[in-house]
C-alpha cells in the first residue's frame, strides 16, 4: 500500500476513540477504522477535517511512498 497514514498514532496520542473521532469529523466509526487499517483512502475534505482535529497537516497524516516495483 503506497499510502501510509498516522491517523491511529495521532488518535491514540489525543486519547480519543474511533467513535469520538467519527463524531468530530461527521463520519462513521467504520470509516475511521478502515482509514486506520489502510483499507480506505479518504477524500480531501475528510483528510482536511481529520488533520484539523489533530492540529496537524494532511501531509503529516498521510504520506505517499513511491512503490519501487512500479
Amino acid at each position: 500500500m503506497p499510502l501510509i497514514n498516522k491517523v491511529k498514532h495521532y488518535r491514540e496520542l489525543s486519547c480519543i476513540s474511533q467513535s469520538e473521532l467519527g463524531l468530530m469529523c461527521k463520519t462513521s466509526r467504520q470509516t475511521i477504522s478502515s482509514i486506520e487499517r489502510g483499507d480506505y483512502h479518504p477524500s480531501i475534505v475528510l483528510s482536511l477535517k481529520i488533520a484539523k482535529i489533530f492540529n496537524t497537516s494532511v501531509e503529516e497524516l498521510f504520506q505517499y511512498e513511491e512503490d519501487e516495483n512500479v
Partner: protein, 252 residues
C-alpha cells in the same frame, strides 16, 4: 502470457459451464416428461414455505439474541466490541436472510397459486397459506426491529422505514466510504444482473420451445432487462447533470 489468454480462457470456461448446465437440463427432460417436471417443481414449492417459515423464525430469534448481547455491551461500538465483531453476521442472518425469505415466499406463493385457489391439496394448501402470512408478518417485524436497532446504533442514519424514500434517505445520510462501497456493490450487481438477464431470456426461450409454455414469459424478463438498463443510464445522466450544475454554481 496468461493475461493475453485470459479473455479466451473466460469464454472457454463460460462455454463449458453452459454445456454442463444444458446437458443436465436435457438429461432431466429425457428422464421425465414435461408434466412430471412441473409436478416435481410444484411438490417442492409445497414444502418450501415450511422451510422458509423455519428460516424466518431463526432470523427473528437471532435478532433478539444479537440485541441482547449488544445491550449487555452497553451498545458499545468500540473496536472488538460485540457489535463490531458480529455486525456482519447480524446483517446476514437478520437482514439478508429475512429479505430472501420474503422474496422466496412470494415466489412460492405464485407457484402454489393453482393448488391453493383451486384446492387440489386442501390440507397442505391451508398450512401454506398460514405459513405465507406468518412469514410476511415475521419478516416485516424483523425489518422494523432492525431499523429500530440501527437508529440506536447509528442515530445519524435515522429514517422512516414506512416512507417510500427510505432507501434513498438512508443512502443520502451515509458517509463517503459507505457511499463508495455501496456504489461499487451496486455497479457489480448491475454487471452481474445484465449477464443473468441474457441467460434468463435464453432459458425462457428454451422453456417455450421444449415445454410449450405461453410465450408471454419472455415479456416480464425483457421488460425487467430494459428497465434495469434505462434506470442505470437515467441515474448516470442525472448525476452528471447534478455535477455540471454544482460546477456552474461554484464558478459563479
Amino acid at each position: 502470457m496468461y493475461k493475453k489468454l485470459k479473455p479466451l480462457i473466460n469464454i472457454l470456461v463460460l462455454m463449458i459451464i453452459t454445456v454442463i448446465v444444458a446437458s443436465i437440463v436435457m438429461t432431466l427432460l429425457i428422464m421425465s416428461n414435461n408434466t412430471k417436471a412441473i409436478n416435481t417443481l410444484q411438490k417442492i414449492s409445497f414444502f418450501a414455505p415450511m422451510l422458509l417459515l423455519f428460516l424466518s423464525v431463526i432470523s427473528f430469534i437471532s435478532h433478539f439474541y444479537f440485541r441482547y448481547h449488544i445491550k449487555k455491551d452497553n451498545y458499545s461500538q468500540e473496536e472488538n466490541s460485540y457489535f463490531t465483531t458480529h455486525e456482519q453476521v447480524w446483517s446476514v442472518i437478520s437482514g439478508y436472510l429475512c429479505e430472501i425469505c420474503i422474496i422466496l415466499n412470494i415466489t412460492f406463493m405464485g407457484l402454489n397459486y393453482n393448488s391453493i385457489f383451486h384446492e387440489i391439496y386442501p390440507t397442505i394448501s391451508i398450512y401454506n397459506s398460514y405459513a405465507f402470512y406468518i412469514i410476511v408478518f415475521l419478516c416485516f417485524t424483523i425489518e422494523c426491529l432492525n431499523s429500530n436497532l440501527q437508529k440506536k446504533m447509528r442515530p445519524e442514519l435515522n429514517s422512516d422505514i414506512t416512507s417510500v424514500n427510505y432507501n434513498n434517505d438512508i443512502f443520502n445520510k451515509m458517509d463517503e466510504m459507505e457511499k463508495k462501497q455501496i456504489g461499487e456493490a451496486a455497479y457489480r450487481s448491475f454487471v452481474f444482473l445484465t449477464n443473468i438477464y441474457v441467460f434468463t431470456i435464453l432459458f425462457a426461450l428454451y422453456l417455450i420451445i421444449v415445454f410449450d409454455i405461453d410465450t408471454i414469459i419472455v415479456l416480464p424478463v425483457g421488460f425487467l432487462w430494459v428497465s434495469h438498463m434505462l434506470t442505470f443510464y437515467y441515474n448516470n445522466y442525472k448525476l452528471e447533470k447534478k455535477k455540471k450544475h454544482k460546477n456552474k454554481g461554484e464558478t459563479i
